[in-house]
Symmetry: C2
Subunit: 193 residues, 2 copies
């Protein structure tokens, strides 16, 4: 059987495994190469440096729920329920990431701290999706906004307790669902024409 082709996706998969096993402080490119049965030179042909590899794996982790969310953002139906659906899907995705594999989550918190540019880009993508929902609602007269991107940013900020990983420890506490509902209600009411 010929060896599997070394793709960026396979390298990132292996990097995540290595990070989970050794932790972000100890994981090296040599560990990643060893896990793949290739030389570290082969890894460097795809990712020019350890920093580039860590940045790419962070990006992949942050993007993991983009597809699902963008389907909601670009879906049909009235904008306000769609906005709530999007916020609910975002909160659910974040909770899963934090709760299903807390060690990997802690690892990514370290990486996120190292790669603030990647995080900013991720936030801009999220705000872009919110802005598309708001624009569609303005077009149909379901909601009001003088500037969709500015409003999207306000919605993002106002809901940060339910997506900023700094609050992850609160996401499993009693009362968090009621708190989420109450903020969603306040925010969607604030967008009514």
């Amino acid at each position: 059987m010929p060896p599997e082709t070394l793709t960026p996706a396979r390298i990132l998969e292996a990097t995540e495994d290595v990070l989970r096993r050794y932790g972000p402080a100890k994981a090296t490119v040599v560990d990643v190469a060893r896990a793949l049965g290739v030389s570290h030179g082969s890894v460097y042909r795809h990712f020019g440096s350890k920093a580039a590899l860590r940045e790419a794996v962070t990006q992949r982790w942050l993007d993991r729920s983009h597809t699902e969310l963008s389907a909601v953002a670009d879906g049909d139906g009235p904008a306000l329920p769609r906005l709530k659906e999007w916020l609910t899907a975002l909160f659910a995705a974040k909770r899963h990431k934090a709760g299903d594999d807390p060690e990997l989550f802690a690892t990514y918190m370290v990486l996120v701290g190292e790669n603030s540019g990647v995080v900013e880009q991720h936030v801009e993508t999220m705000i872009g999706q919110l802005a598309r929902i708001i624009e569609s609602g303005v077009a149909s007269g379901d909601l009001t906004s003088a500037n969709a991107t500015a409003t999207a940013r306000a919605v993002w900020d106002a809901t940060n307790r339910f997506h900023d990983p700094a609050y992850a420890a609160e996401w499993s506490r009693p009362g968090i669902d009621e708190a989420f509902e109450a903020v969603c209600e306040l925010v969607t009411r604030g967008l009514r024409p």
Copy 2:
């Protein structure tokens, strides 16, 4: 001249000085006693343990802006502008704490982490003030809320980027005032009848 009477207020003042000088990891009750020129037994007569002293100094720091804010909460005039005035005063007070003396702020962040009960009590006091504004607005028909405390909690959560010390690093960035205005606008619009 007779020695000044040793009061809890004087001990807390000295504790803050000692914390600023030695940092939260190294400051001891003996350091506080030495700064006051008394025995550590005299300090223990007012605060039974080092933990109790640290808790009290944290409480004092958190409460420092309560008076001013409660004057706004219980002031006259229409509720929605008063709500905005309260949120603005809160953000200003937090920014001052973080920006005027960053080392002391960092010290208190350590203490806040140790004294979660004190923090919870502080948050409940803040939410109580918000609830009083909301109740007065419901009474005068200026705003709508089925449950003033639940709504107050939602307003608190929705504005956390502008009062949670976890975001202190963002409070001096360009655009933060516009972000605050946009969230205030969204929240106050959400309370309209």
